[in-house]
């Protein structure tokens, strides 16, 4: 097991190198001279030249990459062109906000998705099943920026449709507050719902189809033939097998939330990594863009690793060697 984890860790190295090359070349993929782009319109040739010198853009690409990667390994991703502060500082200030948001959104989507999926599978082809699957289809098809805006309209601003009145306690929970993220759990309710809905729908559908497949397996019939109660057949025999593919989806989803919180963060004015990235792109702050993309990629790779390892615990059939 330890050997497997070490080997998998080693295997992530080439992936990370690939990612770093991609991230590094971001700067060169954009048309035009990065220094000129960063300096902005109307900058003097001298300013541009200085900037170019400062960023080391006159060196050959491989030298620049070497410099980028050696300092990155040491945790130095350069300085923000705009604020002048180290990229790592900028990121770490925002990183945990996004992680927190993603964790809550994952918890929410797993909780709702699993229950909905199991119920749907157990009540296969009943009205309950159809109802849950229609809701899931909605959840899946709704773009989350739209959902976020609707939620703000309805609950935060109190403009419920059809002139409905919102109970005071609900308003108390979800209303917009001027204060920033993290000061109250109430701040998180709407963003987490916005971010987690699509995920819940995906997990619900995945759980359902996985459960249905497992319920049709021979060993489920064996369990029934042993006299196991229907409840235990589902929870002890079916669920553990059905969860195996769902775990992958959950892991990927968490990674997706981290990178995909951009819109949610923008709509709810949350100062997370997503916002940081968007702002950096807008301001052509390349070191920040490189830094955020790199961090998100690393997290994604690590989450995948964790998913693979959790496979080992769930599925005894996978031969890791």
């Amino acid at each position: 097991m330890t050997k497997y984890i070490i080997r998998r860790l080693l295997q992530t190295i080439p992936v990370l190198i690939g990612v770093s090359i991609l991230v590094f070349s971001l700067m060169f993929l954009i048309p035009g001279d990065p220094a000129r782009v960063m300096a902005g319109e109307g900058a003097s040739e001298q300013t541009i030249e200085n900037l170019r010198e400062k960023l080391g853009l006159n060196d050959p690409a491989y030298v620049q990459y070497g410099r980028f990667i050696t300092s990155a390994v040491k945790g130095d991703l350069g300085n923000s062109v705009r604020s002048g502060r180290p990229v790592m500082d900028e990121i770490s200030a925002r990183f945990w906000i996004t992680v927190e948001l993603s964790i809550y959104a994952t918890i929410l989507s797993v909780f709702i998705g699993l229950i909905a999926g199991i119920v749907s599978a157990v009540r296969h082809y009943t009205l309950t099943d159809i109802f849950i699957m229609i809701i899931a289809l909605f959840g899946l098809s709704m773009p989350n920026f739209w959902l976020g805006l609707v939620l703000i309209q309805w609950f935060a601003l109190g403009n419920l449709p059809f002139g409905m009145d919102m109970p005071a306690w609900l308003f108390d929970i979800v209303q917009m507050r001027p204060s920033g993220w993290g000061e109250s759990w109430r701040q998180m309710v709407l963003p987490v719902i916005t971010l987690g809905t699509g995920g819940a729908a995906i997990i619900a559908r995945m759980t359902r189809s996985s459960m249905l497949e497992v319920i049709g397996q021979d060993y489920i019939r064996t369990a029934r033939a042993k006299g196991v109660s229907e409840r235990l057949v589902i929870y002890r025999h079916a669920l553990k097998n059905a969860l195996i593919p769902v775990v992958t989806v959950i892991g990927l989803e968490f990674g997706g939330f981290l990178g995909g919180a951009v819109l949610t963060e923008t709509i709810f004015a949350i100062n997370g990594m997503g916002r940081l990235t968007i702002d950096a792109i807008r301001q052509r702050d390349f070191p920040i863009v490189q830094g955020t993309v790199l961090v998100i990629s690393i997290i994604f790779v690590l989450v995948n690793l964790l998913v693979d390892i959790s496979y080992k615990f769930l599925n005894k059939r996978i031969d890791l060697n």
Binding site: D218, T222, A225, K226, G227, V228, H237, N241, K316, R317
Partner: protein, 344 residues
């Protein structure tokens, strides 16, 4: 011969239907047979004959779209069809156990062999986990698995097909059941492994004094393991008799057809005599005798009137017009390459 055997299970006029896209299908239609205590009864038939559905009906393990419409299944006098779900669960795996065709997929891949055998014991005997694990080891020993202390901690994928079927048997016999239903238990196994498993089932049956319902398509398995045989065709029992009579003096034209089309490894045969045509679709059953369209001796009456399962002689039943008083057709048939008259 005349000694009356106690019947542990009696199936009377069982009818099982399935809801399908093409409408309701009677997969089992009026099946009756008895299982004498301590004996093995074979249910033999080709695919679609309803033999597996019959066995699943007994344990009430039918898929969601299937249900028993009619009939009774008397287990020691109690009708299993009238029990509550809870009462039925207490019987499954405890008094009536079942093993299946596919040992590769019939064990849960995420639990150890020991956990799976223990589960049965814990449910029915209400014993502790430790005690159940100890008994699981004993069961593995009983079914001839070497180093059971080690095996009990292994997962199904670590075992070969033959070993898995032994585990299935250990699990089925853990609570000392009175009936073991074996649904094609060796079909997926190689012949040398099949011999091991059949030997094991026979040996354990004698030691534990249980009855076995052996469901199979293999007439060789029937001849070697069964005391009584019910031959099924298109959802019905067409012939029921003791195993010697079935092979030496078969009566139903379908049974004759099966024996004539079977290529044998123990004797030379000139030519196989196949049964012409194919099994009727369950959506479109013949109105008369279901075998009539394929029967070499069928008369006009066979195509219009369905025959009943009638007793002829001692412990022998047959569903065929040929054995009725008013039969006026041919009653000379071929068996094992010889002409013979079957009636009388």
């Amino acid at each position: 011969m005349t000694q009356q055997l106690e019947n542990i299970l009696e199936v009377n006029n069982l009818q099982t239907v399935f809801a399908t896209e093409g409408g309701e299908v009677r997969a089992v239609d009026g099946v009756s047979f008895v299982v004498p205590k301590g004996k093995t009864i074979g249910i033999v038939g080709e695919s679609g004959s309803g033999k597996s559905i019959t066995s699943l009906s007994i344990l009430r393990l039918l898929a969601k779209n299937g249900k028993v419409n009619d009939g009774e299944i008397l287990f020691k006098g109690k009708d299993l069809l009238k029990l509550t779900d809870k009462q039925m669960r207490d019987i499954r795996g405890n008094q009536i156990s079942m093993i299946f065709q596919e040992p590769m997929t019939s064990l849960n891949p995420v639990y150890t062999v020991g956990q799976q055998i223990s589960e049965t014991l814990i449910i029915h005997k209400k014993i502790s986990k430790q005690e159940a694990m100890k008994q699981s080891v004993d069961m593995l020993k009983l079914v001839g698995i070497p180093s059971p202390e080690k095996r009990v901690k292994q997962y199904p994928h670590e075992l070969s097909g033959g070993m898995r079927q032994r585990v299935m048997i250990a699990m089925a016999l853990a609570c000392d059941p009175e009936i073991l239903i074996a649904d094609e238990p060796t079909t997926a196994l190689d012949v040398t492994i099949q011999a091991q498993i059949l030997e094991l089932i026979r040996d354990l049956q004698n030691r534990l004094d249980m009855s076995v319902i052996m469901i199979t398509h293999d007439l060789g398995v029937v001849a070697e393991t069964c005391d009584y045989v019910a031959v099924m065709y298109a959802g019905q029992v067409v012939e029921y008799s003791d195993v010697r009579t079935l092979f030496k003096n078969p009566k139903h034209p379908y049974t004759l057809g099966l024996l004539n089309s079977l290529p044998r490894h123990d004797v030379d045969q000139e030519k196989l005599i196949p049964i012409k045509g194919m099994v009727p679709s369950p959506h479109d059953m013949p109105v008369g005798c279901r075998f009539a369209p394929r029967c070499p001796v069928a008369t006009q009456a066979c195509h219009t009137k369905p025959p009943m399962l009638e007793s002829i002689g001692n412990n022998e039943q047959i569903r065929c017009w040929m054995y009725s008083e008013e039969w006026d057709g041919d009653s000379e048939v071929t068996l094992y390459g010889e002409k013979r008259t079957v009636k009388g």
